[in-house]
């Protein structure tokens, strides 16, 4: 496919029989011969290996890690200064209108910060960091692959290669040796399952992936199942459920804005869009991202228009992600709806000209399974 980049695992994907599709400027595996449904269920019952090397890995360094943390706080509404060494936290870059430029993970690795950002945004994020944090050194990593190993058997599988990972808790980060490679490991992921994300030097990536795939419980998993897994887990996909036009409060991500950055906090505000975001935190947003469980079997896909009643009236919102949940064995969706509607309320989605009922439901749709 012309003009698309490839990860270092491209040849391995082909060898495994992957169907490759364009995604965020890369040729990526959308599914393997097992198929999306079975890949999804395999991840929830055993362990799935995902190539997420297209994502951006960025090192942020200043005179001290404390200074790097305070600098990064100028771009995110998140308590980075309070993030202990060896821990990772979810964050988002905001714009002056309070919208979200990207969502990311931030890890404190003792003498610097390590960031993982979305593939489609990584160029813009890098420029944003360089422009906004002139007091820091911002380095984009291009010699490392990123793998995610997710599922209840992930710990046992990874521990065969890196014995002491079992000691890590959810959102811990650590550096470990495998062969002569330095692995940057976090106990996290984007499936709702226990698991790890492992940054591995490019030249070791294929051998490392093959060692994991040789294990009985580990199967390769494509982007198709990654999407249904994250949707069941209630997690946002950037560019769909969150974007420059949605604030973190509207997106129901207020849990990611710690007390220190809120009104009357130790480091109140001081991030782009603070006035809007702090106001919405105090008075509530006009609309909010909610979960929907359609009552029949028909999925409500992205773009499905939502109405308050079975006929007439103006639209009240739109589905931002929707599909079928293989583990919950039912359709599921996320939508932005007026904040006055609460869980249990029935709304109607226009599916091919028919208004079908859906109930506003709590997320995650599938309970998560982290090792805290």
């Amino acid at each position: 496919m012309a003009g698309l980049e490839r990860t270092v695992l491209y040849d391995l994907h082909l060898e495994l029989g992957a169907k490759m599709v364009p995604f965020a400027g890369y040729e990526m595996p959308v599914q393997y011969p097992m198929g999306v449904l079975k890949e999804h269920l395999h991840t929830r019952s055993a362990a799935g290996l995902f190539d997420v090397s297209h994502m951006g890995q960025i090192l942020l360094t200043a005179e001290t890690v404390e200074k790097a943390a305070l600098a990064l706080e100028r771009l995110v509404p998140v308590d980075i200064a309070g993030l202990p060494e060896g821990r990772q936290r979810y964050a988002m870059f905001t714009n002056d209108a309070g919208g979200i430029l990207d969502d990311l993970m931030v890890a404190n690795r003792g003498d610097h910060l390590f960031l993982v950002v979305n593939a489609a945004c990584k160029g813009a994020d890098f420029a944003h960091l360089k422009a906004g944090l002139t007091d820091c050194d911002v380095g984009m990593i291009d010699d490392r692959a990123l793998l995610a190993l997710q599922g209840p058997a992930a710990e046992a599988a990874l521990a065969r290669l890196v014995p002491d990972v079992a000691e890590m808790r959810f959102m811990d980060v650590a550096i470990r040796q495998w062969d002569t490679a330095e692995l940057w490991i976090s106990r996290s992921g984007y499936t709702g399952e226990d698991g790890f994300e492992i940054s591995v030097p490019n030249r070791f990536a294929e051998a490392f992936a093959r060692r994991l795939l040789a294990m009985e419980e580990v199967a390769p998993i494509g982007l198709g199942a990654r999407d249904s897994l994250r949707l069941e887990a209630g997690m946002c996909l950037y560019g769909h459920d969150i974007d420059e036009g949605t604030t973190p409060v509207e997106a129901n991500l207020t849990w990611a804005i710690q007390k220190a950055r809120r009104s009357d906090g130790a480091r109140e505000g001081g991030f782009p869009g603070a006035s809007r975001i702090l106001t919405e935190l105090a008075t509530g947003p006009a609309r909010r991202r909610v979960g929907l469980r359609p009552e029949g079997r028909a999925p409500m896909r992205e773009g499905t228009v939502i109405f308050a009643g079975p006929e007439g009236g103006d639209p009240i919102g739109t589905v931002t992600s929707g599909g079928y949940g293989p583990s919950i064995e039912a359709p599921m969706a996320m939508a932005y709806l007026p904040a006055g509607l609460s869980e249990g309320a029935i709304v109607y989605g226009d599916v091919r000209g028919k208004r079908l009922p859906a109930v506003i439901a709590p997320m995650p749709f599938q309970p998560n399974n982290y090792k805290r």
């Binding site: 449904l37 198709g224 249904s228 896909r301």
Partner: protein, 119 residues
């Protein structure tokens, strides 16, 4: 068995034809999770979008292969959509129809023609 360019198969059964989707189509669709069937008794024209199949990936339409009337639908695939992947040319038939002009069936592709189409 006869075939359409929309990857449907048709099999004569008495004075009716049974219609389903091909193995090739079911593989391309991926795991089927929802089937919206037409109502029995509905009069249809060639090319009408009369069914919707939703897979884990996307929604696709099934078109009426010829003019006629839907006589019976297979409720089993609505209750258990994965049958469409497991047995597309057998248990997972979609509907039976009475053709307005049964001789039109002869004008559709045969197996060799369909194999050439899908390469």
């Amino acid at each position: 068995m006869k075939y359409t360019e929309d990857h449907e198969w048709l099999r004569a059964e008495g004075d009716l034809v049974v219609v389903g989707i091909t193995e090739h189509a079911s593989e391309q669709l991926g795991d089927v999770v929802f089937v919206d069937l037409p109502e029995a008794g509905k009069a249809v024209s060639t090319g009408d979008e009369i069914c919707v199949i939703e897979s884990v990936k996307a929604a696709s339409d099934i078109r009426a292969p010829l003019d006629g009337e839907i006589v019976e639908v297979n409720q089993e695939i609505a209750d258990n959509p994965s049958l469409v992947n497991e047995d597309p040319t057998g248990k997972a038939w979609f509907f039976k129809m009475k053709l307005s002009d049964p001789s039109k069936l002869d004008g559709l592709m045969d197996e060799a023609g369909y194999k050439a189409l899908i390469g």
